[in-house]
């Protein structure tokens, strides 16, 4: 099979699954068959993706299979199809792999759901995989945009999976609104790009100004999708979805789509230094800011969510520094360890039926696999040497070092410490120490369907560093690792962070916050950014809408009604002329006659 056929397979498999579930009545509501179908599709996709990957490793020449999709004036405006190259191959493998793991995990995690909901859940998953694959294999930015939007929708559906829960419903809608808001930038960027270059390809040569505009607009979409400050607000809320969903969408794959977009459109971004500077600053700032917020969360998923924001900041910063491979490789390792962390957290939550780390405690003893997986994930996330995160972070730091007076670099290093500190806190509080409640005491390891993915992902999270070289190869780069000052410093900070966490939380019951952190907590609780949006929505948008609707009803429509009213009123008033008196009638006629006579002589 040619690479393009294989790539097409990754689309066709989930598409068929989704279609079958959509049209065959009753299949979805049975639950298990639906799940089996989706997992089968994911397996096929993964196989195909790995096939693509191996093909690309052997021969990285891009190949494209596309058909005209939009035609205007008999000219093709846009094509759809598949494109296979190094970037696609690597991303495709990561996506399908994580997706499959999450789906398998979900078999166990979701088995208490009613069957129709269970089936619906897996149908959404198939749809998500399809959308993500559409995005990844896109031969041009338009198709990428299509996939981009579709993953937005599936994300909306999955966050709102517990649609009867008002908070979930709100979170789903919020996520959609925020990302859709950002997507206006994508659309505008696409249009500008097309008008400037005549295509939706990413290899156009643009005038410097145009390039900056286009890339800034595209980056705006990235800010939304990849939850960068100030559009990060939806991501923590998105944790209302089932935990595996958080693992899949909001940690490993979908949010990474923004990073993928920048990687994909690198030729464009390379032409716009200004945009890259913005990205660098914003990425670093987000990393630090989100890490601070993660410090004060007590909900295990929220911690992970803010950590995701933070890590995405890393990636964006790396891309801003011009290091594609840095951003992308961190994306990859992050996908492994964050998916691992979420699934492990999900397993824990599943066991204790609570998200609060305070309700857990000592879980490692009762759930060794889960605990182990979480610890591995935490170490990888913190960037402890040897784990995958260490290598990818190193690439990022290396790229950032020296840029903009090394301020971003410093921020990212600080973030590395904070990361280790808050992950350490979670590990210490939730997995070690003493069980804090009855549920925590009775917690036990889940079934194999949940443990299996944990193990697979754990291995990958731990040893993912080995992929650095092949991935760099796919990108046409060389990869050498040197344990220089930077890596040493990062390693030290990571280990230090864990140590500090153990010191602070190791002995404490629950997770009381030390004084400086309490201040952060208070600031976080005010959720100033959310407040701004709230005001913007309620006080501006809704008020404007109400005002316009009022004007429409009572002024615009009122004027039209007034016209009708005036006419009717005129008719009613004019009736008085018809007095019913015959002499008046004759008078009218004779005045008419007199008028005629006057006209006759005056003419």
């Amino acid at each position: 099979m040619t690479p393009t056929t294989l790539a097409l397979t990754t689309l066709v498999a989930p598409a068929s699954a989704a279609l079958v579930l959509a049209v065959v009545p009753g299949l979805r509501s049975r639950g298990w068959p639906a799940a089996a179908l989706c997992i089968l599709a994911s397996v096929v996709s993964l196989g195909a993706a790995l096939g693509v990957l191996s093909g690309c490793l052997a021969d990285p020449t891009p190949s494209v299979l596309a058909v005209p999709w939009l035609r205007t004036s008999s000219v093709t405006v846009a094509e759809i199809g598949v494109r296979v190259d190094g970037v696609v191959a690597s991303m495709l493998s990561v996506v399908t792999l994580v997706a499959l793991s999450v789906q398998v995990f979900s078999l166990g995690y979701m088995h208490d759901e009613p069957r129709p909901a269970f089936g619906r859940y897996f149908a959404y998953h198939a749809l998500f995989l399809l959308s993500m694959d559409v995005l990844v294999v896109a031969p041009n930015l338009l198709q990428l945009f299509a996939g981009w939007e579709l993953v937005g929708v599936t994300s909306y559906l999955l966050i709102g999976f517990y649609y009867r829960k008002p908070s979930a419903a709100r979170a789903a809608v919020k996520a959609f609104w925020v990302t859709k808001f950002a997507d206006m930038g994508f659309l505008a960027g696409l249009l500008t790009l097309f008008v400037a270059s005549g295509s939706f390809g990413w290899d156009a040569h643009l005038a410097p100004g145009t390039a900056t505009v286009v890339t800034l607009l595209l980056f705006f979409a990235v800010v939304g999708k990849s939850a960068q400050f100030p559009l990060h607000v939806w991501l923590p809320d998105a944790m209302e979805g089932p935990t595996p969903v958080s693992a899949l969408l909001h940690a490993a794959t979908m949010v990474a789509a923004g990073v993928f977009l920048v990687v994909r459109a690198d030729p464009l971004f390379a032409q716009a230094e200004a945009t890259r500077t913005v990205m660098l600053v914003l990425g670093a700032a987000t990393a630090l800011f989100a890490a601070l917020l993660a410090l004060v969360q007590t909900d295990i998923k929220k911690v992970l969510a803010y950590s995701t924001c933070s890590q995405l900041g890393y990636m964006v910063a790396a891309l801003g520094a011009g290091s594609m491979i840095g951003g992308f490789f961190h994306l990859t390792t992050h996908a492994f360890f964050k998916a691992l962390l979420f699934l492990a957290a999900g397993s824990a939550i599943h066991a204790v039926h609570s998200n609060e780390i305070g309700d857990m405690g000592g879980l490692a003893r009762r759930m060794p696999v889960t605990g182990g997986a979480f610890v591995v994930g935490a170490l990888a996330l913190a960037g402890v040497p040897g784990f995958s995160g260490f290598f990818s972070k190193d690439l990022v730091l290396e790229a950032v070092e020296g840029k903009l007076a090394s301020l971003p670099w410093a921020a990212l290093l600080a973030t590395a410490f904070l990361t280790a500190f808050y992950m350490g806190r979670v590990v210490v509080v939730a997995f070690f120490g003493a069980p804090t409640g009855e549920k925590a005491e009775r917690a036990h390891e889940p079934g194999w369907s949940m443990r299996g993915p944990l193990v697979v992902l754990g291995v990958l999270a731990a040893g993912g560093g080995v992929f650095a070289a092949p991935f760099a190869h796919l990108y046409g780069r060389e990869y050498h690792f040197e344990m220089g000052v930077g890596p040493s410093l990062a390693a030290a900070l990571a280990i230090g962070g864990f140590g500090a966490a153990y010191l602070v939380f190791g002995r404490a019951k629950g997770a009381p916050l030390p004084a400086p952190l309490a201040l952060v907590d208070r600031v976080a609780k005010t959720s100033i950014v959310n407040r701004v949006y709230e005001v913007g929505y309620r006080r501006v948008a809704l008020a404007l809408a109400d005002g316009l609707a009022w004007i429409d009803r009572y002024i615009v429509d009122g004027l039209i009604n007034l016209l009708g009213y005036g006419t009717l009123e005129a008719g009613a008033r004019a009736r008085a002329v018809q007095t019913g008196l015959a002499p008046d009638y004759v008078l009218a006629a004779m005045l008419g006659v007199a008028g005629l006579a006057v006209w006759a002589v005056l003419r």
Partner: protein, 512 residues
């Protein structure tokens, strides 16, 4: 049969109406089947016409010509241009879905189906007429039955009197179905009056002694006439297309209308307006178009945003959909105003896409209303549990309306924005894009309020998912949205030569 295909398409619903009229009122099933048959014949004919359209050749095809009043040069001239096929298809889809959606109607159904079929005959007639006067004839036929359809089968609701003109409310029962029907009819007929004036001016000025659109287009009109006549046609047809500020019949009208009528009206009839502006106003009056197009575009941009914001504030489900139609018709007009092939393709595609989408919306709203007996979204909630099918289709319609890729709405909006961007009309395109975002806000808000959340409360005990024929309606429309979203060339390929054909004249004029 084949050379009379267009006549068959136009005539089938009328013939069915005649048959229904002759059936006794007690033959309820017979009435429905005859209506469905008439609609289905038209739909099949539309598909055949669309498929049989030679895209490579373009231009007018399947011409038919029957003298109507030869003394004045009025001929029943039918022919299919690139736009006709898709719009016929739209009409066919909507009427079939509309008949299916009205299957459970329980009140004076004979009259209802007769009027519905007559109306749809008019719509088909407009799309294939190549004679301006006949165009106008069918236009009126399509507009008028609405009065009875809304006035008899509609629903009334309360509207609070307020504002500086509150005293008017005492005279008019605003919100009453008969008020809505009357307002709709009168506003549209004022529009028709303007159109008729323009038609007279063009006919007598052309000296062609013919109402043939081709002949009229071939005539050269003085600039002053063009500048005077274009606004008549724009606002005349535009009233039906919901052009601001002459859109106010739409919310009340659509909110009051019964399901199938809302579907047809918002789904197809509003398109007649936009179609008229483009096919008659712009094509016949290139200089007038050039002069007025900045205004047309600006008003269209207002339409998009204004309609969307108004929709956001509504609490009545039907009003939301109605205002969203106003907003989306703005997209059509925006595309038309760009005077680019992309924009025009987008505009025509949007007619189809929005037609199907809003048809689906109104079908669903009708279902919800029929079961919940309320349209106030504040009282709803959690309906998704009991009516998952309806919820799914509603979500689909929402997604299309906010222009999600993979649905028909995306293709059209994208093409329109592309056209605007190409023409350098950022001041139109940016409100347009913003409008799509505001649409996302209100449609998702509505979805959440209706279908999500805990519930439904005890008050809604007889909620149920769609039933037999209703599924048919929903499936036809929903499939249309998705299929066109994934493979827009089904329609775009015939639309494109049509747009190029019609645009050529205007562009030549603009270039001059």
């Amino acid at each position: 049969m084949n050379e009379h295909l267009l006549s068959v398409i136009v005539g089938a619903p009328a013939a069915a109406a005649l048959v229904v009229m002759l059936l006794p009122s007690s033959a309820r099933l017979g009435i429905r089947l005859a209506s469905l048959l008439g609609a289905a014949v038209s739909l099949a004919g539309s598909v055949a016409a669309l498929v049989g359209y030679d895209k490579a050749r373009g231009g007018l095809q399947r011409a038919e010509d029957y003298p109507l009043v030869p003394a004045l040069g009025v001929h029943l001239r039918f022919a299919l241009d690139g736009w006709g096929g898709p719009l016929l298809l739209l009409t066919g889809i909507i009427i079939v879905a509309g008949v299916l959606a009205s299957w459970t109607l329980g009140k004076r159904d004979k009259e209802f189906f007769v009027l519905l079929l007559v109306l749809v005959s008019g719509v088909f007639g407009v799309f294939v007429s190549q004679d301006l006067l006949v165009f106008f004839l069918f236009y009126e036929i399509a507009v008028l039955p609405m009065y009875l359809l809304i006035g008899i089968w509609g629903a009334s609701h309360e509207v609070r009197a307020a504002g500086p003109f509150a005293f008017v409310w005492k005279r008019f029962k605003v919100g009453d179905k008969q008020y809505a029907a009357m307002k709709l009819t009168l506003m549209l007929l004022v529009g028709s009056a303007a159109i008729l004036v323009a038609i007279f001016a063009l006919y007598l000025q052309s000296g062609a002694h013919s109402f043939d659109l081709g002949d009229l287009a071939a005539a050269r009109y003085p600039r002053a006439l063009q500048i005077a006549a274009f606004p008549l046609l724009w606002l005349g047809f535009g009233t039906l297309a919901g052009v601001f500020p002459f859109h106010t019949w739409s919310p009340d009208g659509h909110a009051s209308a019964p399901t199938a009528v809302s579907m047809l009206h918002a789904g197809v009839l509003m398109k007649l307006g936009a179609f008229g502006v483009m096919r008659v106003g712009m094509v016949l009056l290139p200089e007038g178009t050039r002069f007025w197009v900045p205004v047309v575009g600006a008003v269209a941009a207002i339409n998009v945003l204004y309609g969307a914001f108004c929709a956001m504030s509504q609490t009545d489900l039907k009003y939301i959909v109605a205002y969203s139609s106003v907003s989306h018709m703005g997209v059509v007009m925006l595309g038309a105003a760009t005077l680019t092939a992309a924009g025009w393709n987008g505009a025509v595609f949007q007619m189809v896409a929005h037609g199907i989408m809003t048809g689906l919306f109104f079908a669903l709203v009708g279902l919800v209303y029929e079961r919940a007996h309320t349209r106030a979204i504040a009282r709803m909630g959690g309906f998704g549990t009991v009516m998952p099918g309806v919820a799914a289709f509603f979500t689909l319609a929402c997604l299309s309306s906010l222009g999600l890729p993979g649905t028909a709405g995306f293709v059209s909006e994208f093409l329109v924005f592309l056209g605007a961007w190409q023409g350098g009309h950022l001041f139109w395109a940016i409100p347009g894009i913003l409008g799509a975002f505001v649409t996302a806000i209100y449609v998702l808000k509505a979805t959440r309020a209706i279908f999500w959340g805990p519930g439904p409360s005890e008050a809604f005990h007889d909620l149920a998912d769609a039933r037999r024929t209703e599924w048919g309606a929903l499936l036809i429309l929903g499939t249309g949205l998705v299929v066109l979203g994934f493979w827009p060339r089904l329609l775009l390929d015939p639309i494109d030569p049509g747009s190029v054909h019609h645009l050529a004249r205007i562009l030549a004029e603009v270039a001059r």
